[in-house]
């Protein structure tokens, strides 16, 4: 290995004569790889190995006993077949996850952009106030946020039921918001969007404030209305940012776990409210079918790769410029 790096002449073979006439070949860069090695080892151990295990496990019958050392049996594509033919289970959950994701992404993007536009028009004091508010929401761990939102919608003692009772005069105490899957997902969407809006708002604000003032001014002089300026000038300027934000939001909202899991513990019907992340956990951890859960995981990895390929390609293209 070292000899090839140092290009030392091998005594057994005659030295190539043509090489000496050429300019000396650039040495392979060792230092960058050396510097990267720590990261690569860590990535290999903590990400690479689990992925390999996941794929291997998805072709095995792997239950609780196998976790304690009983040899696992190879079952070929059995796990995949049972998942892909499971209409009530896997496909329903996947469809549900996609619907939730689309609603969350649309709401997050719209509210985030509106907030960014608002921040551009606010005075300094108010803008700081809004920023601090957004940052606090952004800094809140999803688990704590979900539990607090759970209290807000609490059946007996929640503030929402209390306010509704006062406003409408009807008796709202005892109304379970989480019991009906539809209102369960309404609350879930509120929690997710509430947590995701700050990132979108800040990024959009950063992008929109980078647009040169002259361009907007010129459009204004040409008679473009505010809506036209937004649609025809501002949006095209930040279109790159928007696509990246959408792709990232899609990935984040598709692999939801904490919020759904915590909300299901507070109330609601697990069967009717599972999303893909929670479904994998239920199959694997709670019921001990690691092989099947692994296979769902692998399928999900492919779906995620499909979604993120656009993002990666775009990033690579930008690098090349």
């Amino acid at each position: 290995m070292t000899t090839s790096f140092l290009d030392a002449p091998a005594p057994a073979s005659p030295p190539p004569t043509r090489r000496s006439s050429r300019p000396p070949r650039r040495r392979k860069p060792v230092l960058p790889w050396l510097l990267l090695s720590a990261t690569l080892v860590v990535l290999g151990v903590f990400t690479g190995y689990p992925i390999v295990r996941l794929v291997v496990m998805s072709f095995q019958e792997y239950e609780r006993a196998q976790l304690m050392g009983t040899p696992a049996e190879w079952v070929g594509f059995d796990n995949y077949v049972s998942i892909l033919t499971d209409l009530d289970g896997f496909w329903t959950v996947l469809l549900r996850s996609f619907v939730v994701m689309v609603i969350c992404v649309v709401l997050t993007m719209v509210i985030g952009t509106l907030l960014a536009l608002l921040m551009m028009r606010l005075g300094k004091g108010l803008r700081v106030l809004v920023s601090v508010g957004l940052l606090l929401a952004w800094a809140m761990p999803p688990l704590s946020a979900t539990i607090v939102w759970g209290w807000i919608f609490d059946t007996e003692y929640g503030i929402v039921n209390n306010l509704l009772t006062r406003i409408t005069g009807d008796r709202w105490f005892g109304h379970s918001w989480l019991l009906d899957p539809l209102t369960f997902f309404m609350i879930l969407v509120i929690i997710v969007v509430w947590g995701a809006v700050p990132f979108v708002a800040f990024t959009m604000y950063a992008g929109l404030t980078q647009i040169p003032g002259e361009v907007i001014e010129a459009a204004q002089l040409d008679g473009a209305s505010a809506l036209q300026r937004f649609r025809l000038v501002q949006i095209p300027y930040v279109s790159g940012i928007i696509t990246v934000l959408i792709v990232l939001s899609m990935i984040w909202d598709l692999r939801l776990f904490t919020q759904v899991f915590a909300l299901q513990t507070i109330g609601g019907d697990r069967e009717a409210t599972n999303t893909i992340g929670v479904y994998i956990f239920q199959t694997g951890m709670a019921q001990g079918h690691y092989g099947v859960a692994g296979a769902i995981g692998v399928i999900f990895v492919f779906i995620m790769m499909g979604l993120s390929s656009y993002y990666v390609r775009r990033t690579v293209q930008e690098e090349e410029l």
Binding site: A38, F46, R64, A65, T155, G174, A272, G288
Partner: protein, 424 residues
């Protein structure tokens, strides 16, 4: 590229930090002299009294100089998931408490260390509660031993009940609750996810949860004739409750202490939550509704005590315990007469039959617990039963019944799902 590099660097630093901190936890046992180390005991929920915990720690550390014992309390919710990962890892706890109906999932998969015949005799042998010994056996080998048993009783306060008589049959119980129900007061306070309370209604009406058929497969019985009759009565009982239809059985003392509950069916140790001082860390209501707290065993269809769920726990040494010898010593203390007497004093039924007399007979709540335990029954004896519990399908089904949905449809769906898991 700049961004990504920074991200990677931050991530790797974080990962390395995590890895290092994980390494810091395990101590190498000394190779010479008596083995010392830290023994971690996992108890679940608040059943184990404070006095017993202190006794376990001090006794263990006295008997094993140089070693320490840490008690870590786990929650019942999500216990099977937690144990599956914790017990199979290298950082496993040493001694664990496990629900009696959950034990089979772990004994059958080799998660617990074997308890030899000799050790079994040493720890109590035939004196140990037979039903619970059986729950902890797998293929003729002892793995998990009894820890305690406790059946549910029905609590009430005369300040709320007024002059109403305590019911003597199950039908009367529901009828009384129904007559006591107002918009502000629950007849029976029953959060929808609390399915343990539902089992007596099924059994008393002649139904069953699941039974093995001749060909070895399981048949679920919620949609059997008795099962349906039970579920209808359960729905009637739910109608007398103002509890959240999808709520859990946590913090039951809160509504009770508000005086909004006539009957509360709960494990006997709930009494300590209700009888806590008003300014305790978890406040109770010793001065008001806790002052005349009483309990009776849930009445059966034809009088007497109903067949209730035999709740309780087993205890075992983890297979991956870093200090199996020390863990066994901790187990010995937890099954000692002295420790088990402390368990009995709280009204729970101790792991040893000979100590049953230690349950205070003059305490009506404890007496109700003993009475209820006499006719208590277990969930189906299948290693996959724990998966049924962990999947949350029972909670979901009873939530729907509490919400007033059609009993027959729910029963059929529930049976299909239970059979699917038990026969998988």
């Amino acid at each position: 590229m700049k961004k990504i590099r920074v991200g990677g660097a931050v991530a790797s630093v974080a990962v390395v930090a995590l890895g290092l901190s994980a390494c810091g936890g395990s101590a190498e046992p000394a190779s010479e002299g008596p083995v010392t180390g830290d023994v971690r005991v996992w108890v679940v929920g608040g059943d184990t009294p404070e006095e017993a915990r202190a006794f376990l720690k001090s006794t263990f550390e006295e008997q094993n100089p140089g070693s320490t014992l840490t008690i870590e309390e786990q929650a019942w919710d999500g216990l099977v998931d937690k144990y599956t990962t914790a017990l199979s890892g290298s950082d496993a706890p040493d001694v664990v408490e496990i629900g009696n109906t959950q034990a089979a999932a772990f004994t059958s998969a080799g998660y617990f260390a074997e308890i030899t015949g000799e050790q079994f005799e040493e720890l109590g042998g035939d004196d140990l509660l037979p039903g619970f010994v059986e729950a902890g056996d797998w293929e003729g080998v002892h793995y998990a031993l009894p820890y305690y048993s406790g059946s549910r009783v029905v609590f009430y306060s005369e300040q709320v009940l007024g002059g109403t008589e305590v019911p003597s049959t199950l039908d009367e119980y529901v009828a009384t609750a129904s007559s006591l129900k107002t918009a502000d007061r629950s007849g029976i306070y029953w959060p929808g996810q609390d399915w343990y309370n539902a089992l007596p209604f099924i059994w008393e009406n002649g139904g069953f949860i699941a039974e093995p058929k001749d060909d070895g497969t399981w048949e679920a019985g919620f949609s059997s004739e008795g099962g349906l009759a039970g579920l209808e009565q359960i729905q009637e009982a739910f109608n007398t409750s103002n509890a959240p239809k999808d709520g859990q059985e946590t913090d039951l003392q809160v509504p009770f202490c508000e005086g909004k509950v006539a009957f509360l069916s709960a494990p006997s140790w709930i009494q300590w939550g209700i009888k806590a001082e008003e300014d305790a860390e978890v406040p109770g209501c010793l001065a008001t509704y806790g002052s005349d707290l009483k309990a009776f065993p849930l009445p059966g269809k034809d009088g007497g005590a109903a067949q209730v769920f035999a709740g309780g726990s087993n205890i075992a040494v983890a297979k991956n315990s870093p200090n199996p010898e020390l863990a066994y010593k901790a187990l010995q203390i937890m099954l000692s007469d002295e420790y088990q007497t402390m368990i009995a004093a709280t009204g729970l039924i101790p792991a040893k039959v000979s100590l049953a007399g230690q349950v205070p007979q003059d305490d009506p709540i404890a007496a109700a617990g003993v009475e209820a335990a006499k006719t208590a029954r277990l969930t189906p004896a299948s290693p996959k039963w724990a998966d049924v519990e962990a999947a949350g399908i029972l909670q979901a089904a009873f939530t729907k019944i509490a919400a007033g949905q059609d009993v027959e449809t729910i029963a059929k769906d529930l049976d299909t799902e239970i059979e699917k898991i038990l026969n998988s």
